[in-house]
Symmetry: C2
């Protein structure tokens, strides 16, 4: 018999949404325990509970004290941790719940959206050594003020990765309502493939452009702490090969040039037109936007027929009005002639570690889109990603065409 593996199993809100589902979760944990693994479990609140708690707080005060908000909202995970422990004990698996403060999982003092500062693995490891499954309330820790702090939405993924790092787990399994990470959205491309493996960097780029399977922060933490993360379905039978594994680049078996095609409809385009061509003009525009906490993504500068400049960039859909207000206020300084906005845009991104070494991959994108008559409005690139902004009408067409062009289409199994 080989060395026993230590794995973390994380279950989200829908996976523990009812008592019946909690029983199913307990059975899944039992299976892993019976395979000889040491298992730690991380749970979210039962689906709907967090929203109810947030609603209570907002009903009393939309600007509720975040420390009190945290005490209220963290109760959801507390309940699930106890219930899952009971369900495990009932089927003969020794288990006990751990609240954030009992581990302790320490956070900074940014209540309501705290970051994890440290996870003490000692108590969890004692539990694992005694073959008692620790069932950890996700999404929560204890702040420097010794009060309950929550990590913000999606924080349970981050809890799971942080716990996995603390107990040096061989793997962190994230059970969700999808069965893995796909080359693109299967609702748009029927022949989208599930990826067996994907790198942290690719996952980060995919998450940041709308493929929200894992919370971005959790992927970043996994990369830094070198935690192997697996995404798999909590609604289907699974084994050691199920789902998608997020790993270091050197763990990729076959290095695909492109991992996937992502899209995001959450952005809007703003064009600041007829601005003088002088040094410091970009700072005059983007400095005040940054100061107003408005995130600017893609940027392109162009010269018009009148030899005045245009600056075009994207912001989040919800930030358009705030951005225009900032630009109005700064008009004296920027001396712009006109502002145009468009909400009717989609950002399409091709992501893959192969981009680093293969310059021709960008050309494939532009050629493919041009062949379909799709106009590229803005372009931005990172080391492993090319993104273009196009008219939203062409979203599905563009995603399908690119998926095929990069050779990502699933090969149909012949009927037998």
């Amino acid at each position: 018999m080989g060395k026993r593996k230590t794995i973390v199993m994380k279950f989200g809100g829908t996976s523990v949404g009812t008592i019946e589902r909690i029983r199913v979760v307990a059975q899944r944990v039992k299976v892993e325990v019976e395979r000889g693994h040491r298992v730690a479990v991380v749970v979210s609140a039962m689906s709907g509970v967090t929203n109810r708690m947030v609603g209570y707080c907002a009903e009393l005060d939309t600007l509720a004290d975040p420390r009190e908000y945290d005490a209220v909202v963290a109760s959801g995970e507390q309940v699930t941790s106890g219930l899952v422990a009971i369900a495990l004990q009932k089927i003969g698996v020794p288990a006990r719940s751990f609240q954030g403060w009992q581990i302790p999982l320490r956070t900074d003092d940014a209540h309501g959206k705290a970051s994890i500062e440290s996870v003490d693995g000692a108590a969890l490891e004692r539990s694992l050594l005694g073959d008692v499954v620790p069932v950890i309330a996700g999404f929560q820790g204890i702040g420097p003020d010794q009060r309950i702090a929550t990590l913000g939405r999606g924080g349970s993924d981050t809890s799971a990765v942080a716990v996995a790092a603390a107990i040096k787990a061989d793997r962190c399994d994230i059970y969700t309502d999808v069965d893995g990470i796909y080359t693109t959205d299967p609702r748009i491309v029927q022949r989208a493939k599930r990826l067996d493996r994907i790198t942290y960097e690719e996952m980060l780029e995919l998450a940041s452009v709308g493929a929200k399977v894992l919370q971005t922060r959790s992927v970043g933490l996994a990369m830094r702490e070198n935690v192997r993360v697996r995404v798999l379905s909590s609604f289907a039978e699974t084994d050691d090969e199920s789902g998608s594994l997020v790993v270091n680049e050197d763990e990729l078996v076959e290095k695909e040039l492109v991992a996937g095609i992502a899209y995001s409809r959450d952005e809007a385009k703003i064009s600041v037109r007829r601005i003088p061509d002088r040094p410091g003009i970009a700072a005059a525009i983007f400095g005040p936007l940054a100061a107003a906490n408005i995130n600017v993504d893609m940027i392109v500068q162009s010269v018009g027929a009148d030899s005045l400049n245009n600056m075009t960039f994207t912001v989040g859909l919800t930030d358009v009005e705030a951005a225009c207000a900032v630009l109005d206020r700064e008009r004296g300084d920027i001396e712009w002639g006109e502002i145009q906005t468009s909400r009717n845009v989609t950002k399409i991104s091709v992501v893959g570690v192969g981009m680093r070494s293969n310059a021709g991959l960008a050309a494939v994108m532009f050629r493919t889109l041009a062949e379909r008559g799709i106009n590229v409005q803005v372009i931005s690139t990172s080391e492993i990603k090319i993104s273009v902004l196009i008219d939203a009408e062409y979203t599905e067409l563009a995603v399908r065409a690119l998926h095929t062009a990069y050779g990502l289409d699933k090969i149909e199994e012949p009927n037998t």
Copy 2:
């Protein structure tokens, strides 16, 4: 200006049952703060929440691990404490929530029905000195295993009294759905009077015979720690004179001979007939019952016509079958001839510290009942209580007659 008073205000589940009710609670606390008092608040779970949590646990395992049960169930008070703190802040009253483990309120390890071992008043007093209202999650503490422990049903009253003792509060106000303690059940006797003051001992006797306004344990603790407890309505306007004050006997202004008439329909009578008259027969009967954890209350021994003895006693309604099973098993030892049981009985109790010095008070009871043709089946007495067991049919008649006989009827205000 006199010295500032410190008061504890405790609100039960119906008082904090909705967000709207929580706002009302916050207003009440604000009134006391504006009177110049230092206020600590103790809260129960929103009504219905504890039952839902208990239901979840039972659905998974009727014998759920009490440590996990506690983690689940204690979440209800956690939520209320945060919400009440938010509601207070919203109306300009600085406040913060305290969970049991944050105080810390330490308990023994009897999870699910723990007893309070100590309350550290330091953190609460710091909060009070800074004029920040501590809002304490009732019903919970932290056990010697550093895990959440609940005090059992009604435990929030006990939390409030223990907190009041720890911070040396001048008074512990228990807000409930009644406006005080009455001379008897107002549903039976319209002319029942609210008592301005009652002694701890009287309150204990009344609580133990069915007038369940305060949890017995909380009254016992208040007596030991000399905490002045006030019971008042959370649904009516109140001032410093509202409700009923539970105090030491020497604080009674006018010592009424009798404080009230209580009744209990929760008992059953068991007669063990035709038992030999020999030493040790009582031990042979009551020893095995005690060993089976069956609580025996009133006891009377009588001699029948056949010069054999009869032993008659009462047990809780739910214990009748278990008690008969024990007696069957011990028949060889007890040598009884017959067992009769009756569930159709009521225990009526007259309670008052005046009993100590006034032997004639018992005679009033027997005469009053005899005049109405009510047969007394069993009698028991304590220092400040006389109880009789009667046919349940006569309950209302007996309570009304005794209420009048002891001069407890409210004098009607003349119409003006």
